[in-house]
Amino acid sequence: MTPLLKVEGLTKRYGARIGCADVSFDLWPGEVMGIVGESGSGKSTLLNCMAGHLAPDAGRVMFDTRTEGMKDTITMSEPERRMLGRTDWAFVHQHARDGLRMNVSAGGNVGERLMAVGARHYGEIRDSAEDWLGRVEIDSSRIDDRPTAFSGGMQQRLQIARNLVTGPRLVFMDEPTGGLDVSVQARLLDLLRGLVREMGLSAIIVTHDLAVVRLLADRLMVMKDGHVVEAGLTDQVLDDPQHAYTQLLVSSVLQV
């Protein structure tokens, strides 16, 4: 078995300021990794560099492509990277409106990725859209409604359906439960966990919510000032943190 994703020395600077510095790790098929840290710690910068939204200053992001094996996605051509972005990769934004087409119906939102990879049968596209709405617990009677008519939690679930419809192997998530109220969060977490297991997805989840990573992530990376200060098994990092910053982070969580 080979890693699905191999990140090597990934560095991004904003002028003199460090976005993220010399980040390296392997992600294996089926693994879910959380990246935590406070605002400004560089976790979103890292995620965006990995997902190809930002050009890093140094480093490699190797992905195990279906046809050519391990390939650096940073030096990859734009068409190739885009193809990856609508087949094997998915990106779930914190704000659903960044990841959805708000003026297109729910069905159209889910169907877009299928059409982008060549689906040309309306009936089949609609069937998959319906199936996916069901899997993210959106009533199929809402298929022709626009996301503007949906609640925040529904929008987020729709975004997930839209991303997973082409059966990606790697999902990047940026604060997927941020901005949702807790009951909605729980439902979404449950859904994500189920999908990750059923589809054998690998995922990288950026969040500042330690409860979210405890439930979703196998592994954890703790970032501070652009550097990874600690990494390991999620419950080990949370229950027996070794680094001063992680100890502070864990002890700062309010108990319910």
């Binding site: 069905g107 059409m115 982008a116």
Partner: protein, 288 residues
């Protein structure tokens, strides 16, 4: 004659536009940016088409201008007059004898020949515009053939109306490569674009884009396997000339709901009637 340079534009400008046209012909369906000039008419009145026509016309040409099929509406008349005055070229309403035809929103019914050039006026050249507002992004999408979004639009149509309700400016794919806006012609005209003998040029003045189809280019209207493209028109013959195969305008004739269907292509209808064809209301019309 007048003191205008031939066809209003100066020679350098026409040369610049011709270069854009040639590039457009070399890459069928690709939108070539050009430095659109201010014309003595408002945007939306065909400034793009007029500039392309001006760069195409020679003193020997015979020009026909149609506006939604008709030769005698304001837009057609004023553009025809414009070139009569600035270029001094002959004009005609007869499709077959014209060498350059500038059109707004129609393709003539009579088949065009290799000796003819059809110039379309285009309001919005970007077929992806209403789905993706960013020009940078749409250009990338064209470059990468990332056209899934185009089908999203058609999907939305079917989801909402039970069929592809787009009736005009129906998107097409050119030679299996570029998705192109055919300008707001009715989708009835789409099949005529494919394999046409005449050169087809498209000018968008406000948007500063020119694109083109060389003769005999393959043009395919986008659709779904289970919702194939249909070149629809009103299901009736022309009430004046009886034509069954032409695109029809619906005309309300009184306050009591009376209506008639007539050929949108006035020259086609005139020619048929001259040849003795008569529609259901043809006689009364002639009598009146």
């Amino acid at each position: 004659m007048s003191d205008y340079n031939f066809a209003y534009l100066d020679e350098q400008t026409k040369r610049m536009i011709r270069r854009a046209i040639l590039k457009g012909l070399a890459i069928p369906g690709y939108q070539v940016p050009f430095a659109s000039r201010e014309m003595p008419m408002p945007y939306g009145w065909g400034t793009g088409g007029v500039q392309v026509s001006a760069a195409t016309l020679t003193p020997e040409d015979r020009l026909k201008v149609i506006d939604q099929g008709a030769d005698d509406t304001t837009n057609a008349v004023s553009i025809r007059k414009f070139f009569e005055r600035t270029a001094g070229v002959e004009t005609t309403e007869d499709t077959a004898s014209a060498s350059v035809i500038q059109t707004r929103h129609r393709i003539p019914e009579a088949p065009l020949t290799e000796d003819q050039v059809l110039v379309y006026q285009v309001p919005i050249p970007e077929p992806l515009r209403f789905l993706e507002p960013s020009e940078i992004e749409t250009r990338k999408m064209h470059a990468l053939e990332d056209y899934g979004l185009m089908h999203v639009k058609l999907y939305e149509d079917i989801a909402r109306h039970g069929q592809i309700a787009t009736a005009y400016a129906y998107p097409v794919k050119v030679e299996g490569r570029y998705v192109m806006d055919p300008s707001p012609i009715p989708k009835f005209d789409n099949p005529k674009m494919s394999g046409m003998a005449a050169i087809q040029l498209f000018g968008a003045g406000r948007e500063q884009r020119i694109y083109a189809l060389p003769p005999y280019t393959q043009v395919v209207s986008l659709d779904f396997q289970d919702f194939p493209f249909e070149a629809s028109k009103a299901d009736a013959p022309c009430d004046l000339c009886g034509a069954e195969d032409s695109y029809l305008d619906e005309v309300i004739v009184d306050d009591a709901g009376g209506r008639m269907f007539v050929c949108s292509d006035t020259d086609y209808c005139r020619a048929r009637r001259a040849a003795g064809h008569v529609g259901a209301q043809g006689k009364t019309e002639d009598a009146a």
